[in-house]
Amino acid sequence: MARSNTLERRIQPTVQRYGVALLSVVIALESALFLKDQKFQGVEFPIFMFAMALTAWYEGTGPAILALVLSGIAFNYYFTEPLHTLYVTPSEVPYYVMFILFAALVTWFSAVRRRVEKELLQSRDDLEKEVVERTQQASLLNLTHDTIFVRDMSDSITYWNRGALELYGWTAEQAIGKISHEILQTVFPIALDDINAELLRTGRWEGELRHKKADGSEVVVASRWSLRRDENQHPSAIMETSNDISVQKRREEEIRSLNKELARWSAELQVANKELEAFAYSVSHDLRAPLRHMVGFAELLQKKASSVLDDKSHRYMTMILESAKRMGDLIDDLLAFSRIGRVEAQMTVVNLDQLVNDVLSEARQEIEGRDITWRIGTLSACYGDRSMLRVVLVNLVFNAIKFTRQRARAEIEIGRANGGKQEVVVFVRDNGAGFDMKYVDKLFGVFQRLHHADAFEGTGIGLATVQRIIHRHGGTVRAEGIVDQGATFYFSVPTP
């Protein structure tokens, strides 16, 4: 069924074409016979000629031949002597030759016309297809966020997408036909000649360009150029695809200047650190020497003049010695304090329980004859500088021992408090002299003391040192206290 259908469809136009040939000859014959009856002379030949030409023109060679043969027969039969026979007299031969020649001519013209027409149609279709394709491409190019424009080899813009409008502020109508480098006032990173040389050599180029927008502001773009060649391989157009990197550029610039500043600060800091180190070194050497001499000679004097000095003079001597010694302690503590900032931390995993044990055995001598109840919890490990953390624990534990001195029964607790996941919070609690929470802010300051020197000795640097060490570990310190009831000191250090 399908097959006969296709056969039918193929045959149908052919039958139709020959039908037209037959019909046109029949109509021509009828018309000629009618005109002959009306006594019109010599019109038969042009009528047949016309019918045949019509057939040849519209239906091609095959039907034209059919029309030619039929016309010849009809003409011969009805209009040439002897009538109603197919006899051909020699005088009629030129007619037939003309007939055939004319038919051939018309057929040939028709064929040429058809071919031209076909070609025209073909190229129209091609053109339409191309237009559709181009339109689609152009609208696709319009969809992209990139800025795309095309310029010919004399830099005149031929295409301008929506991204270009959005970035530069020029519409396609304004831009097309303009010289791209002029309308955009392009600043090239290298000479344009070099860029063009590379473009011609490799077919592409990319780099950063500076353009001026329609509103006069400047924009930095990362631009990629590609060269288009025609079918003869001659360069025909250049497509520029660009992205606005102004913000990126500005950030880079900012980062660069910040970095520069940072480097400067860092250098200054280094110089300051060096000076501080030299200062500390000098203090360590030069400040202690005169102090040592003061103490030394005062003692020698005390010994030598012991018999001639009265009680008051003895007391003065003692005070001189005490003050000098205290100054020595202050210098030592200050140096230790400044060393925390100067020395590089040696970060390792530190077993805090073991560290507490070390500190407690160090304190053993200090607590001889004291009644102290110790409650030591489990602390686990942390990440830090062992010797620095030791200083922290020594300070806090010795403080607890010192400030519970007046208790008949001292209680000191060391344990782990709740804290964040990344930290170990350790507390040291005592039931000693405590402090007024009003002054908690002063507790960790250098040389800040909340007790009178005659009640509890000290330089006021211990807790400042503790705070400095913990801050260097990225941790925090805090304290809670009630006067005459005790104090609790907390510090946090990172977990391993």
């Binding site: 070194y281 360590s284 202690r288 020497a289 040592r292 001499h293 103490v295 030394g296 020698l300 060393r339």
Partner: protein
């Protein structure tokens, strides 16, 4: 009384010299102390040159060396002594005000025999000097080449 070795003290501060001498006297250790006031003089003494060209060429039993010295500093003296075949056997005790770790480390790296920080407290100072003097000048077996009286 023990026999005493000769002590070479390198110290620029006369007050420190006096205090040290007093401390040594207190324990009768000051019999023979040679005081040089800077690193150059100390090296002159050790190499028997300059003012010390005519001294007998024996080495001291111990050298008490300050670090902060005019001209040639203590660490340099230490370096030269410890890199010299004939001098390296002399026990060198750095006796200084400096607690600084870098001084301690540098001294031990150069091969110092002891590093003592001068205490501010006079009693402690005297004790330190006494222990040093007794240990290095009396108890310690002096290296060959140093003469005992």
């Amino acid at each position: 009384m023990e026999k005493l070795g000769r002590i070479l003290m390198v110290e620029d501060d006369p007050k420190d010299v006096e205090l040290t001498m007093t401390a040594l006297e207190e324990y009768n250790l000051a019999n023979e102390v040679i005081v040089t006031r800077d690193g150059e003089e100390a090296l002159d003494y050790l190499y028997c040159r300059g003012n010390y060209a005519s001294r007998s060429s024996d080495n001291p039993a111990v050298m008490l060396l300050d670090l902060k010295l005019p001209k040639v500093d203590g660490l340099e003296v230490l370096r030269q002594v410890k890199s010299d075949e004939t001098l390296r056997m002399i026990p060198v005790v750095v006796l200084t005000s400096s607690h600084e770790e870098k001084d301690v480390v540098a001294s031990y790296k150069l091969g110092v025999n002891a590093y003592v920080v001068k205490p501010v407290d006079f009693h402690e100072f005297v004790n330190a000097i006494k222990e040093l003097g007794v240990f290095w000048a009396v108890i310690n077996a002096a290296p060959p080449g140093s003469v005992r009286k």
